[in-house]
């Protein structure tokens, strides 16, 4: 039989014969914030999070009538405390090491989520003003939301003491994103995504500080969205139950907005326009151009920003409105032409930032630099950001999370973190990304192992941190 496991089942744990298997576990107490903030200093002390951790806002200009801040704070504490059976006995701890709560000061009373708002924040743990609290200040509530996320990553459950600890204080974190447009595309036409899945994706975007959900709602395969004024359109859904009512779509938009995420809704115009084309005596190219330019005029006249896929630029770029934002997807080398022509650009080159390409590794996602070959500082400003694309041909509700994560996180850091704090070699961030991936798992997000292709399964037993 060899040195085999003796497998005996017992409903009772306690056996004097049980011996220790394997070595001691590694202490993964090193701190890992993802994405890396612009500026971080920290120390060597430890604080403990009080069980009834409070939010205080004395001195703020923001009334939180909409409840956005309170909801985000409560969610953050729940996520950190994760229904753990925490030790309620704080009597053994000196009051000076107990963090009672977080004071949040927001300058702007306005919580309308706009593209380009100030998302900066400053986080001090503990507060120099109120040392039994942590301190968070931001221009807008959306900056504060980012600060809450960073704070949550400083908190760790210590299974030996059953307490939530904040290690390596004092922290001084001053942070803001490098790019204002940090997107994730999801595609609900190739496969319907149930509402709980879309909300889970939004929740996970918040953890990585992504701020645009590009919702590619319809396409050739299915039209799942209710358009009240054209009620037959959603007969093009796969089935009666694989549809989004107008109210559900509105709810997704609201759910995202309350978390600092703008939803960019996209509806493609299908090729049935060909018949309309012919009627007006145009060939396809002419009709395409006519349609795009007319659509642009209509949108602009109603005060909308317009984003066009890059073919419009490639084919008739000089005719596009100067306000156009061009979404590059075909490959590298396009962004530089767009900004040289004076237009703004969003980067999603498919060779590096398409999540459905399973063979694209997280390292490639990380190293995809939007400003490649763009050295003119004025032109650099025209690159408003980038987006990773989760096309839906081969993802449905069963596998979207692990196809998105952790590779989207690699891009999320490329889009958030200040250029000079980005790693020059992805090896330098492997450990920190592995920690973020395991943090996602701990929060119930099915982020795949780092090793291997996108959506890979772990190849063998092992620690989350090493796979």
């Amino acid at each position: 039989m060899g040195l085999q496991l003796l497998r005996v089942w017992l409903l009772l744990f306690l056996f004097g014969l049980v011996a220790i298997v394997g070595g001691g576990g590694a202490n993964v107490g090193d701190f890992n914030i993802w994405p890396m903030p612009k500026s971080v200093t920290n120390g060597h002390r430890k604080l403990y999070m009080a069980l009834d951790f409070q939010l205080i806002t004395e001195g703020t200009n923001y009334s939180d009538a909409s409840g956005i801040l309170k909801e985000a704070f409560t969610t953050m504490v729940d996520v950190v405390q994760m229904d753990q059976a925490l030790d309620a006995n704080f009597s053994a701890l000196h009051p000076s090491v107990v963090l009672k709560g977080l004071q949040v000061l927001i300058s702007s009373p306005n919580d309308q989520l706009q593209y380009g708002i100030d998302e900066s924040y400053k986080l001090l743990v503990p507060s120099p003003y109120k040392p039994d609290f942590a301190h968070l200040e931001a221009q807008t509530v959306y900056g504060a939301l980012h600060g809450l996320q960073t704070f949550s990553q400083l908190c760790h459950f210590n299974s030996a003491t059953n307490r939530i600890e904040v290690l390596m204080v004092p922290w001084t974190i001053i942070d803001q994103p490098r790019f204002s447009y940090r997107g994730l595309l999801i595609d609900t036409s190739r496969h319907y995504q149930p509402l709980p899945m879309i909300k889970k994706v939004i929740d996970s975007m918040v953890y990585a500080k992504l701020n645009v959900l590009h919702w590619h709602i319809v396409d050739t395969q299915s039209f799942p969205l209710e358009i009240p004024s054209y009620p037959k359109l959603w007969d093009g859904a796969y089935s009666f139950s694989e549809r989004y009512t107008f109210a559900e779509a509105a709810e997704i938009v609201s759910y995202a907005q309350r978390r600092g995420i703008n939803v960019l809704a996209e509806i493609d115009v299908p090729g049935h326009a060909l018949s309309w084309l012919r009627k007006h005596g145009m060939n396809e190219s002419e009709a395409y151009q006519y349609f795009v330019l007319r659509a642009q005029k209509i949108a602009l006249s109603r005060g909308y920003e317009i984003v066009n896929w890059e073919e419009t630029f490639n084919n008739f770029g000089s005719k596009l409105s100067r306000k156009t934002v061009v979404h590059n997807w075909l490959g590298g080398g396009v962004a530089e032409k767009v900004v040289a022509a004076g237009l703004r650009c969003i980067v999603s080159n498919q060779d590096k930032w398409y999540l459905d390409h399973l063979d694209t590794t997280w390292q490639q996602f990380y190293m995809n630099e939007p400003l490649t070959n763009i050295t003119n500082t004025e032109q650099q400003k025209l690159v408003i950001g980038g987006e990773v694309c989760m096309w839906g041909e081969r993802v449905d509700g069963s596998d979207i999370e692990q196809t998105i994560w952790p590779r989207a996180a690699a891009a999320a850091e490329r889009l958030w973190t200040t250029y000079n704090k980005l790693a020059r070699d992805p090896k330098q961030v492997t450990r920190r990304l592995a920690h973020f991936r395991c943090l996602l798992n701990q929060r119930g997000v099915a982020a795949a192992p780092l090793a291997g292709p996108g959506r890979g399964a772990p190849q063998e037993p092992g620690s989350c941190y090493s796979q």
Copy 2:
């Protein structure tokens, strides 16, 4: 360019030029309950679920002091209503078509969860006693919980009317499980599973009426469980954070119990016992037998049931306590020998019921009959049930759900449904299982497509119901 999609991004939905793409969606209004109840009759009418759907218990013997019923009811309504934006205006509906709530009558005041308790229930929609309510009666609260699950599968959100409907009433469902032990094994030694994932697995087991979570907590690779009297044991965890405190393990047990699921905790005894072996002048086989028999005596003396993996039976079956339950896993043909020897048996033959074997199809899971070759009715009673096994060598928090579902559901029906209502050919249940899989997705459970191997990704765009 050909007949290509014109892809234009607009932040505005409404365009007169948009044409309908594709055909109408299929109406998937056929009813599909999984697992199939013992006895079902239904009709042709429709009822609407009231927004504030109530639980009433007048006439019950069960006080619900523990809140198990109320919690299960509230969860069930939440899952059915799924935060949908439901139409609150019921004025257009005749009161006779509105279902105000569910009356639940439970005979036993006792809610201690024991192996072998009565899990039967009777569900009448609407109630013949109170026609504006549905009626659920059961011997125990755990039978009632199963009834709630079945009721939830009768409810459908109609996206055209924004209402939850119960179609094809009146329903008379009288149901009870075929086998009393219907298990799922998870393995948290080869890969740590975060607590939220374990809870999600428990929630999904409830949907399929599985009732035993066999928690294979430790093994050679890691020992993640806190044993308070032996505090060094869990130094064998992969890392400090990949551990379960005693309180967390107790919480999982409680979470499961409140949902009608018994947790069978398993700790394997490692091969370090070899040195102990040698000391006492025994060879391995002798020591193994000695250990098992002594362990059995200790467990029995404390009033526990004992379950042993089949090697104990295969090697020294005649010496085992007659109270032993043998867990068959190696292959077919063992169960019949166990019951012929007068011992009870749980079936998990690895050629058909190992979920980590990705090439085992759902059809094979479905058709694996525990009573194969057991014709003697007294011996048949000794097969107490079966268990599907989700070994963890290649599953972690990122892919456990889709590896378990939907194949575990196929086995769940084999274990619950009365033999003569099981399909003789799995083709007969494809549509119904696809519906259950899509219901799981709608509830946020990442159940994989039916087609292909375990944990397969969808191969192309399409409806959930057809993949």
